[in-house]
C-alpha cells in the first residue's frame, strides 16, 4: 500500500484547512480552537469518542453550519463565507456519505444514485444508466438496482449511499462512519473501495470513524479529536505505538483513563440526592 509520508505532505498546500475553529451548541463548546490540514489526494481519518464533534467537523466542511470563529478553506475556497449559488457549486464537487444513509424513500436504488447526475448534468439516458450501474457494481449491489430503500438492509443502504456519493466523481469525499452496520466482508469491500477511488481518481477522502481496526491499510494519516481539539495525529502505526495515556486509552479501548466517557454532567451524588 502506498502511503504519503507526513514529511512530503507538509510541502504541499493543504486541500482542506481548518484554522482555529470554534463551534458551540448553546453553551456546550464542541470544537475549541481546532486546527486541521488535509493534503490533496490523501485518505485521512478523523477519530474520536462518540459525541466529541466528528460529525460537526463534517458539517463545517460541507458548509451546513458556520463556525463561531476561525476559518475553513477547501481547495482555496473559504467555505465558511460561501452561500447561495457559490455554496451549491462547491457542493457539486463533494461526495458525502451521511451517518444514516439518507436515501430518498420514494425512489428506487437506481433513481437514488442517478439523482445527482440527472440534477446537475444533461447526459443522455444510456450514459446515466452505464454510470449508475458501474457504481452499483463497485459496491456489489447491481442486483438491487430496482429495489426501494425500504427493502434494503441497513448495510445495503449504506453501500447505495456510497455509490450515490461517488457517482459524479467528486474531488473530495466525506464519509461519516462508513463501516457501522456492515458485515466484515462488506466493510472490507467498502474500505478497499474508498482506497481505490482515492487512487484511481486522485480524490481527497476524509473518513470519520471510531473503528480503529479498520484504519490499517486504508488511511494515510489519522487525527484523534478529544476535548474539541486534535489530541494526536500520525499514521496508524504511529498512533498504535503512541505512549501518551490519552491516545493509548483510545486506541486500546480502555474504559478508564483521561478520555471522559461521560457527557459533561454535575456530580452524580449531587444529582441523585437532588
Amino acid at each position: 500500500m502506498t502511503t504519503v509520508s507526513p514529511d512530503t505532505q507538509a510541502s504541499h498546500k493543504p486541500f482542506i484547512e481548518l484554522r482555529d475553529v470554534v463551534f458551540r451548541h448553546d453553551r456546550l463548546t464542541v470544537l475549541d480552537g481546532l486546527n486541521l490540514k488535509v493534503t490533496q489526494g490523501s485518505v485521512v481519518a478523523i477519530l474520536g469518542p462518540s459525541g466529541v464533534g466528528k460529525s460537526t467537523i463534517l458539517k463545517l466542511i460541507t458548509g451546513q453550519i458556520k463556525p463561531e470563529s476561525g476559518s475553513i478553506t477547501v481547495n482555496g475556497l473559504r467555505v465558511d463565507q460561501l452561500s447561495g449559488n457559490k455554496l451549491n457549486n462547491y457542493r457539486k464537487t463533494l461526495g458525502v456519505m451521511l451517518q444514516n444513509s439518507a436515501l430518498l424513500t420514494d425512489m428506487s436504488v437506481f433513481e437514488n444514485v442517478a439523482l445527482p447526475v440527472r440534477e446537475h448534468t444533461s447526459l443522455p439516458e444510456p450514459v446515466i444508466r452505464r454510470l449508475v450501474l458501474t457504481k452499483l457494481q463497485a459496491v456489489g449491489l447491481r442486483g438491487a438496482v430496482a429495489m426501494l430503500p425500504r427493502e434494503l438492509s441497513g448495510g445495503m443502504a449504506r453501500r447505495v449511499a456510497l455509490a450515490r456519493a461517488l457517482v459524479l466523481d467528486p474531488a473530495l469525499v466525506l464519509y461519516d462512519e462508513p463501516f457501522t452496520g456492515l458485515d466484515p466482508i462488506a466493510a472490507a469491500t467498502v474500505s478497499k473501495l474508498i482506497r481505490h477511488v482515492n487512487e484511481a481518481l486522485n480524490v481527497t477522502s476524509v473518513v470519520i470513524t471510531h473503528d480503529v481496526e479498520r484504519m490499517q491499510g486504508l488511511i494515510d494519516c489519522a487525527h484523534i479529536i478529544i476535548g474539541g481539539k486534535i489530541a494526536a495525529s500520525g499514521t496508524p502505526a504511529d498512533l498504535v505505538h503512541d505512549q501518551s495515556p490519552m491516545i493509548m486509552q483510545f486506541m486500546q479501548g480502555l474504559p478508564d483513563g483521561p478520555v471522559p466517557f461521560h457527557y459533561p454532567a454535575p456530580d452524580l451524588a449531587e444529582d441523585l440526592l437532588a
Binding site: T62, N88, R91, L94, N100, A102, L104, T105, P116, E119
Partner: protein
C-alpha cells in the same frame, strides 16, 4: 420549535400559534420564489398531484355521495311539510355548491392528504433526506416542498367538483328512485336556482383559498418539524388543527365577502 411544550397554559399556547402562523406566512414567498416554468418541475408536480389525488379520491367520493343522500333526505322531509318537495334539487345544489362542497372537501383533504404531506416531509427531515439533498446541491424547498404545495392547491378545487358531482348524484338517486320525484322537475329546479356566478363560482373561489391554506400549513408543519418521531407526530396533528380552524374562519369571512 415553538410548538413543543405547549402545556404552559393558554396564553403561551395562543402566542405560539400566532407566531407559527406568522412564520407560516413568511414561508409562502420562499416557496413561490422557486417556481420555474420547466418540464422537470411540471413533471414533479404532476407526480405529486397523482399521489394526493388518488389518496383522497375514495374518501371524497364516498363522503360526497352520502352527504348528498343525507341532505336530500333532510331537505325532502322539511320541504314536504310546505308542499314544496319539487324544489329539492334547488335546495341540495345551493347548500352543496356554496358551503358544504368546498368546506367538507377541504376538511376531508386535510385529514387525508394534508397530514400525509406533513408527515412525509417531516420524516424526510428526521432521516436526514433533506440534508442529503442540500449536500447534493439540490434545493429541498424546490424539490420536495414546492411540488407538494402546488399539487395540493390544484387538487382541492378538482376534488371539490367531484364531491359536488357525487353528492348531486346521491341526492338524485334519493329523490327520483326512492321517493319518486319527477327527474325533469328535479333538474329543472336545480338549474333555474343555481346562478353560475354567486353560487357555483363563489364555491370555486373558496375551494382555491382552502387549497392554498391546506397546502401551506401542511408543508410548513412538515418542513419545520422537530427532526424526531415525536416532532413528526406533532406536525401532523398541528396540520389538522391549524388547517381546520383556518378553513372554518376563512369560510365565514369569504361568505360575508362573496354574498
Amino acid at each position: 420549535m415553538s410548538n413543543q411544550d405547549n402545556e404552559f397554559g393558554l396564553n403561551r399556547h395562543l402566542l405560539n400559534q400566532l407566531s407559527d402562523l406568522g412564520s407560516c406566512g413568511l414561508f409562502l414567498p420562499k416557496i413561490l420564489m422557486r417556481i420555474r416554468p420547466s418540464f422537470k418541475q411540471l413533471g414533479q408536480i404532476m407526480r405529486q398531484l397523482y399521489f394526493v389525488g388518488t389518496r383522497s379520491m375514495i374518501i371524497i367520493l364516498t363522503s360526497g355521495f352520502f352527504i348528498g343522500l343525507v341532505i336530500a333526505l333532510q331537505g325532502y322531509n322539511t320541504l314536504k311539510q310546505f308542499g314544496a318537495s319539487e324544489s329539492l334539487g334547488a335546495v341540495v345544489a345551493l347548500s352543496l355548491f356554496r358551503e358544504l362542497g368546498p368546506v367538507l372537501t377541504a376538511l376531508l383533504f386535510t385529514g387525508r392528504a394534508g397530514t400525509s404531506i406533513a408527515a412525509e416531509i417531516g420524516l424526510m427531515k428526521a432521516t436526514e433526506q433533506l440534508d442529503a439533498l442540500e449536500l447534493m446541491a439540490i434545493d429541498p424547498i424546490e424539490r420536495v416542498v414546492l411540488p407538494r404545495f402546488i399539487a395540493a392547491i390544484i387538487a382541492v378545487p378538482l376534488l371539490t367538483a367531484m364531491f359536488n358531482l357525487l353528492a348531486v348524484t346521491g341526492a338524485y338517486l334519493f329523490a327520483v328512485d326512492w321517493v319518486g320525484l319527477d327527474a325533469g322537475l328535479f333538474w329543472g329546479r336545480m338549474i333555474s336556482a343555481v346562478d353560475l356566478g354567486p353560487d357555483y363560482l363563489s364555491g370555486f373561489y373558496k375551494s382555491i383559498v382552502f387549497g392554498v391554506v391546506i397546502a401551506l400549513v401542511s408543508v410548513f408543519q412538515g418542513y419545520n418539524a422537530e427532526p424526531t418521531g415525536r416532532g413528526v407526530a406533532v406536525a401532523t396533528t398541528q396540520t389538522v388543527i391549524v388547517s381546520s380552524i383556518l378553513i372554518l374562519i376563512l369560510d365565514f369571512i369569504l361568505t360575508a365577502l362573496l354574498i
